[in-house]
């Protein structure tokens, strides 16, 4: 009895103190911080690498921390926080990254041997990059390093390959590529595409690369759907008009055009060790 009273006394004392303190020392905060804080376990364990649940909540609201940073809270907490932050996977059309260059070691010519930091940006500073094609893939993997989902890997012939299942369409690889070779397209396997990024004249292209688009317009003339147009010296296929007839593939002397399906199949058949590397 006495014990209960004493305990109650101490409890009441601190409760009062805390209540008063909370009132006198109240600080205005973003209501979302409070909400996120509520969703957290409150163990203040520090496993998120922030100084306590409050700090983590602030970081989440400020956009510095990921919503699934709370290890003790697990999935439930993560989804609760995601709901507060409104980060539900929205109604946005899912997209996938494609590499618009087929000029690998076998097909594209190098101007010289580059020896130095293996980084596309920095390699490009030396005489504009070692590839004869100034728009072709350098294959030093900036995109691979930029991908947070391990969806990109460097293929055996020096071109990056996209694992479409893992690709979230975030576009980080698009930003990472100094030559703007990677583009996002709506998910799907419909249509044909010109797998080249070269804006050069035909002569320059054919000197630099066996599979580059020279802008010869053979495909434009061949397409019954009039889906192919020219963007400078580069043929561009309108996916909405393309009906996969494949006439352009036959007409292209350089083999720059392939159905999109092939890219998907290629990524599915990717050897497993590439993923773990």
């Amino acid at each position: 009895m006495f014990a209960v009273l004493a305990l109650g006394g101490i409890g009441a004392f601190f409760g009062l103190l805390l209540g008063l303190a909370a009132r006198f020392f109240a600080v205005d905060t973003d209501p979302r911080i409070e909400a996120v804080r509520e969703a957290l376990p409150g163990a203040n364990c520090g496993a998120c690498a922030y100084a306590g649940c409050n700090k983590y909540a602030e970081a989440v609201v400020a956009g510095d921390a990921l919503v699934n940073g709370c290890i003790p809270g697990g999935d439930m907490t993560a989804s609760a926080i995601a709901a507060i932050m409104g980060q539900k996977a929205g109604t946005v059309e899912p997209k996938v990254a494609y590499v618009f260059c087929r000029g690998d070691h076998r097909h594209a010519r190098d101007l010289f041997i580059y020896h130095g930091i293996l980084d596309c940006d920095y390699a490009q500073q030396y005489h504009g990059g070692f590839k004869a094609c100034p728009d072709g893939c350098l294959g030093l993997g900036n995109c691979v390093r930029a991908c947070p989902f391990e969806a990109l890997s460097m293929g055996p012939e020096g071109l990056p390959q996209v694992d479409e299942d893992r690709c979230s369409g975030c576009g980080l690889c698009v930003e990472a590529c100094p030559r703007e070779i990677i583009r996002l397209l709506p998910k799907g396997d419909h249509g044909h595409l010109v797998w080249c990024n070269s804006q050069q004249r035909g002569k320059t292209v054919s000197r630099a690369c066996e599979v580059g688009c020279t802008g010869c317009r053979a495909c434009v003339r061949a397409c019954p759907q009039e889906a192919i147009s020219m963007d400078g010296y580069l043929a561009v296929i309108d996916l909405e008009k393309c009906d996969d007839c494949g006439l352009c593939v036959e007409k292209c002397r350089f083999g720059s055009i392939h159905p999109r399906r092939e890219a998907a199949a290629g990524s599915a058949a990717r050897p497993e060790e590439a993923a773990s590397a």
Binding site: L18, A22, P41, C45, I71, G74
Partner: protein, 207 residues
């Protein structure tokens, strides 16, 4: 259907959200008392008891505890059960109580218990909280057993020492690798086990 839910509550604590290997919580007792399997088992059981009881009580009181003071309330509830366990241990297995030392009262601040209270028991019905408590406790115990097994076998060359089932494993001339019984060994073994479970979980595709 319902059974599956409860089953999930239990297995989640053991595998997917194993307190030691996945959540990395409650490290202090994990490292400190796992010299012998006996101690690990004792600590594990104590934690199961406290965790289950506190989860049940907190869950059943969850509508009555005011939001603002819930943490202090949880702590009081947990501390009460820990005190009870402490007294029970002291009364019935004094040797174990001595071996565990100050880490028995320190169960109070074991992040798992407060963590489960906040993350689960404070929001879920009583029965699910019960199973969640058992599951997390079992997961914790499992981790302790694994760690103490390694440390005892290599560090002392025995199995289940100081119990009725004690076995001397490698004969009398065996010189145990005593580092396993030292604090340094605890850190290293746990680190390696953690890496091992990381590999296993990755192979099994459990995220």
């Amino acid at each position: 259907m319902m059974n599956n839910l409860y089953l999930a509550d239990i297995t989640r604590g053991i595998f997917k959200e194993n307190p030691i290997f996945r959540l990395v919580l409650g490290m202090c007792p994990t490292l400190a008392i796992t010299v012998l399997v006996k101690n690990g088992l004792g600590m594990g059981l104590a934690v199961i008891a406290v965790l289950t009881c506190s989860n049940v009580v907190i869950s059943s009181l969850r509508r009555f505890i005011p939001e603002q003071v819930r943490i202090p309330c949880y702590i009081v509830i947990i501390a009460t059960f820990v005190t009870i366990i402490e007294m029970v241990l002291q009364a019935f297995v004094p040797a174990l109580y001595d071996a565990l030392g100050v880490f028995v009262p320190l169960i109070v601040v074991n992040c798992i218990i407060l963590g489960r209270a906040e993350a689960f028991a404070g929001k879920q019905p009583v029965l699910r909280s019960l199973f969640d408590g058992i599951g997390s406790g079992l997961g914790f115990t499992l981790g302790l057993l694994l760690l103490s097994l390694v440390r005892e076998v290599f560090g002392s060359g025995t199995l289940l020492a100081e119990t009725n089932f004690a076995v001397q494993l490698f004969g009398a001339n065996f010189e145990p690798m005593r580092i396993f019984a030292q604090p340094a060994g605890a850190f290293i073994v746990l680190g390696l086990l953690l890496a091992l479970t990381n590999i296993v979980f990755k192979r099994l595709q459990i995220d």
